[in-house]
């Protein structure tokens, strides 16, 4: 039924015409959307292939050990494996908490109150990228092996130093993730609204800002945890019983076990993140003005 032709004088006719055009648009859009989805599926699958094939190669290599699965049983038998992995995970969780505790208030404050400091703060958060870890750890040892804060002289002190070093390493990721998150919510309005309702700063941070940053914080937490578990240089030079040094220890002279260990740690870290993701899921809090 086209608009042209026929001298229809029904008052509904124009609306029917418009309706049909809109219909055509919607179908076209829908068709375009499903074609788009196919393309995105292809993109996704290519990505998956790139990520999973090297893991598969590692797996098939680790299975060459005789008797079948020996690489895995040897690994799981070794008490050092569980001990160092647990140690690194624990340090990782503590680092995530400390990092969030420092970065979120800072990013929030910079965005809201002292935007002129933004460049400086960003530069500082990017420094850990540029300072090779070997230099950082040498500097840390020189600074804290004597003098006002002799942290390296004790095990607990060295652990604390490790957490501090990892927190610094997490700055680039945590800050960028939080900053991106803050950018996408209307911090100004949220804060003003909360303040006008009588909330203090801490309450604003804890009950309003943090929940809205869920996605960013999770991303930052993932990255930090993965950094800590896989890190080698700093843990080694600070002589901590972490997972990275353990991996290097068995990696030197065993052929199949290192592959098994790296896969197991990959899987375990992935599972841990799945758990964090699960705990952190929930409805996004929406406030008028933010959407």
């Amino acid at each position: 039924m086209t608009a042209a032709g026929g001298g229809s004088t029904s008052p509904i006719a124009p609306y029917a015409v418009v309706g049909e055009v809109l219909d055509k648009n919607r179908t076209a859009t829908r068709r375009r959307r499903s074609l788009g989805t196919i393309i995105w599926w292809i993109v996704f699958l290519i990505g998956v292939a790139y990520f999973l094939v090297p893991l598969w190669s590692t797996l098939s290599w680790s299975l060459q050990a005789q008797p079948f699965g020996a690489a895995y049983t040897n690994t799981l038998d070794d008490p050092q494996f569980a001990a160092t992995l647990l140690y690194s995970f624990t340090i990782g969780i503590i680092t995530v908490i400390v990092s969030i505790g420092i970065i979120v208030p800072t990013a929030f404050w910079v965005r809201l109150r002292v935007p002129q400091l933004r460049r400086l703060v960003e530069f500082i958060t990017l420094l850990p990228f540029v300072i090779p870890p070997i230099i950082l750890v040498f500097g840390l040892i020189r600074s804290y092996s004597h003098g006002f804060l002799p942290l390296t002289n004790t095990d607990i002190g060295s652990d604390a130093l490790l957490v501090a070093a990892y927190t610094v390493l997490s700055f680039p990721y945590m800050y960028r993730a939080v900053d991106t998150g803050l950018r996408s919510i209307d911090v100004q309005s949220l804060t003003e609204a909360s303040q006008s309702l009588g909330a203090g700063w801490l309450r604003i941070l804890w009950e309003v800002i943090l929940p809205n940053l869920r996605v960013s914080l999770l991303a930052g937490a993932f990255l930090t945890l993965a950094i800590v578990v896989g890190e080698y240089t700093i843990a080694t030079f600070l002589a901590r019983p972490a997972f990275g040094p353990y991996l290097a220890l068995i990696g030197g002279n065993k052929a199949y076990e290192p592959a098994a260990v790296s896969l197991i740690s990959f899987a375990l870290t992935w599972a841990a993140m799945g758990v964090i993701q699960y705990i952190g899921r929930g409805t996004r809090i929406t406030v008028a003005g933010a959407r």
């Binding site: 098939s60 290599w61 299975l63 060459q64 050990a65 005789q66 079948f68 699965g69 895995y72 049983t73 040897n74 799981l76 038998d77 070794d78 008490p79 040498f138 040892i141 020189r142 092996s145 004597h146 390296t152 002289n153 004790t154 095990d155 002190g157 060295s158 080694t236 030079f237 600070l238 002589a239 040094p245 290097a248 220890l249 990696g251 030197g252 002279n253 065993k254 052929a255 199949y256 290192p258 592959a259």
Partner: protein, 380 residues
Amino acid sequence: MTTRHTLTRWAGLLATSTLVLAACSSTGGGGASAGASAAAGAWTPPADLLAAAKGEGTLSTIALPHSWCNYGEALSTFAAATGLKLNELLPDGGSGDEINAIKTNKDNKGPQAPDVVDVGLSFGPQAKTDGLITPYKVKTWDTIPATAKDADGAWYGDYYGVLSFEVNTKVVKTVPADWADLQKPDYKGQVALAGDPTVSNQAISGVWAAGIASGGSLDDATPGLKFFKDLNAAGNFVPIIAKTANVASGETPIRIAWTYNALADKDSLAGNPPIQVVVPKTGRFGGMYVQAISAFAPHPNAAKLWMEFLYSDQGQNLWLKGYCNPIRYDAMVKAGTVDTAAQAKLPDTSGTQLPTLDQITKASDVITKGWATEVGATVK
């Protein structure tokens, strides 16, 4: 490779893994102190030193992989005999890292500072000049050859090994017998060093030895650079730092490494895949390592006790068991205290040349400086 078959077996393994774990954990791991000992009697720690060391409680070692010269068994035997705790640092480190660790931790009495080091010969005198090591003469000092120790007792040779080819015979059908063979087209993309020739003693020695076999000498290491330049140009050389896994997977089926490392790999791989260790016909090059006590050691008495252990007959025999030639070998053969079973397993290394300190310094300089420009394995 039958992936499907493997997958089903893999699933089966997952299902029964708990049972396996339960069974395995009861038998425990590690083969420490398997039948203590061969010809020599077990070492008894000197009482006064032991008491002082116990007061310190820990020994901090550095860069001692457990399969290097059977250090694993040496460490656990020592710990059992003395009751000291072991703090093992930087297992993957090289000699440079060890010296660096002493320097960085000068003011640090914490767990990051090493008590003792085991470094390449060339590192000893420099460390003495820099004031990083402190002299100590073990009870068996006189049986250490004079050429292998510092007169003042600052450093002392511990063992030596010979460079060999570690060959994965599943991949390599015709095993090379000498350095010149490595240049053959049969070995395209198969030859690798076990370290970085600008920092690793083992790798530097590899380059040097190749040179000696192709017209160089202990005084001239430049033919070694040419050898590897040709090897790289021919496409035979793989620039990766080859580890056991690379040899076993066939990626670098020929690795140039110390006999003791190659033989240890052969044992641990146990035929999966089969490894043959070939000591080249010419260009037999020996490398010696030295022990020293850090001048800033947090546990100096534990360090001395460790040295007494290493230079006792038992300690030396444990190194022999790891296919290393312990420094007191000749004296022990004469005294009849050598472990004959381990002795029999050593490959024939007659004609090995051991360089002097000056020769090492000169050659290291030439090789480390020339590697990048000459060979450049310039990764394009």
